[in-house]
């Protein structure tokens, strides 16, 4: 498992899934501008089988289990169950963070953006992750 964590980029399939996720519900947290980063995935409870599939794919990078959390939606005034997992904080996620985030000096935080080279990133394998 350790060699996975030392890679600078994911193996081909994981690379595609990671990009698809970052085009959709996935996010990468990077608390400081010089430290490591981690992947965070949160889906509705109805998508639990898919979340478990993603959890299994990224399992070599995960230090803890997945969790189910109830969240309040201000718009609907209702509570919903969500399923989520986070990877450990690792350098490999900085590569993907740099691809999808820019630092907004005014907001003093990272903001997600579409990669400039989205044309070359789009493949059939990514569309399902993007859309669903």
């Amino acid at each position: 498992m350790a060699h996975y964590r030392l890679m600078s980029i994911f193996p081909p399939y994981l690379h595609q899934v990671a990009i698809g996720l970052l085009l959709s519900d996935g996010s990468i947290e990077r608390p400081t501008r010089t430290g490591g980063a981690r992947l965070s995935v949160i889906l509705g409870i109805n998508s639990l089988p898919y979340l478990l599939h993603l959890y299994n794919l990224f399992e070599p990078y995960i230090n803890s289990g997945f969790s189910i959390t109830e969240v309040y939606n201000k718009k609907t005034g209702k509570y919903y169950d969500t399923a989520r997992f986070k990877t450990g904080m690792m350098p490999i996620f900085v590569y993907y963070h740099d691809m999808f985030y820019h630092y907004d000096e005014n907001a003093q935080r990272y903001i997600k953006r579409l990669p400039e080279n989205i044309d070359s990133l789009m493949t059939p394998a990514r569309l399902p992750t993007v859309a669903w």
């Binding site: 089988p49 898919y50 579409l114 059939p124 569309l127 859309a131």
Partner: protein, 96 residues
């Protein structure tokens, strides 16, 4: 983004890209259209937010293109149920 669905009964695929800017959604629509040959449009949703739509005449092409990559639990979102179609973990074992 994510959370795509089929518009009830009309066969229109909607992909919710609300967190991206109009320009970004337009670029993404162009990338899907040009790279995957699936005609995709950026459409205003609400409050200055944009989503992607793929018209019903492209539905079968989308299904054919991505069915082997979709996790079986998500196939219902394309109106495909009752089988695992082309997805097979064996096909990705050497790439993960």
């Amino acid at each position: 983004m994510g959370d795509g669905n089929l518009k009830g009964g009309e066969g229109i695929i909607r992909i919710y890209t609300n967190s991206f800017t109009r320009l970004e959604v337009e670029k993404l629509a162009f990338a899907i259209t040009s790279k995957l040959d699936i005609k995709t449009s950026a459409v205003h949703d609400r409050n200055g937010q944009y989503i992607l739509t793929i018209n019903k005449f492209q539905l079968n092409a989308v299904r054919k293109l991505i069915e082997s990559y979709m996790h079986p639990s998500m196939l219902y979102k394309l109106g495909m149920c009752g089988g695992t179609f082309g997805f097979n973990y064996k096909n990705i074992l050497d790439q993960i």
